[in-house]
């Protein structure tokens, strides 16, 4: 699954550690999501969306094209 997490984080001037702290996860988890090695659970995706004040589908995009 593709995502815009790195861009959104950079826009706010947050480090991976900053974002990890706000989401109550490890920095490795943030890095794995940003590099698209790991897809977050739905609760974590909601938490990320809430933090950035956006909808989940505006942050995470499916790989397949319709």
């Amino acid at each position: 699954m593709k995502n815009r997490l790195r861009d959104l984080r950079a826009e706010r001037g947050w480090s991976q550690a900053d974002l990890a702290e706000k989401l109550d996860v490890s920095r490795q988890t943030v890095n794995a999501i940003e590099t698209e090695k790991y897809d977050p659970s739905l609760p974590l995706a909601f938490k990320i969306a809430e933090l950035f004040g956006m909808k989940i589908e505006d942050i995470f995009m499916a790989n397949h094209k319709k």
């Binding site: 109550d24 996860v25 490890s26 490795q28 988890t29 890095n31 794995a32 090695k37 790991y38 977050p40 659970s41 974590l44």
Partner: protein, 132 residues
């Protein structure tokens, strides 16, 4: 026990309980190898490592439950590698036992169990590497 584990244990707590378990195991081995204890007491001594192991297991589980979702997944993948390896190891050991004489001084359970944590750490290394 529940009260102790309400707060997630730190990494060092888990390591300390693991070391305690290993120390009790080594002491047990020494007692069983060297002392002429009565049979009833030998059984009690042989089962003694269960006590520190129970603490180790409880703290490790509490630690895993306190991890974030990626690290819980890494733990799951580590076990998904380690468990089949353990099956393979004992299956091959059993077959080799039929094929050739294996010395109990080298290949008894008291030696072979120590390979199982190595499988877990191998699995952990592989799973961790995948998400770096």
């Amino acid at each position: 026990m529940k009260t102790i584990l309400q707060k997630a244990p730190g990494q060092w707590t888990v390591i300390f309980t693991a070391l305690t378990w290993v120390l009790v195991y080594l002491l047990t081995r020494w007692l069983l190898d060297n002392d002429q204890l009565p049979e009833g007491l030998r059984i009690v001594v042989a089962l003694a490592p269960m006590v520190p192991f129970a603490f180790f297991l409880a703290f490790m589980l509490a630690g895993i439950r306190s991890m974030d979702e990626l690290h819980r997944r890494i733990q799951l993948e580590a076990l998904a590698i380690a468990f089949p390896l353990a099956i393979l190891f004992f299956m091959l050991l059993g077959l080799l036992e039929l094929a050739i004489p294996l010395s109990p001084e080298d290949w008894s359970y008291r030696h072979t169990w120590s390979y199982l944590p190595l499988f877990y750490f191998l699995g952990l290394a592989i799973a961790s590497r995948r998400y770096q």
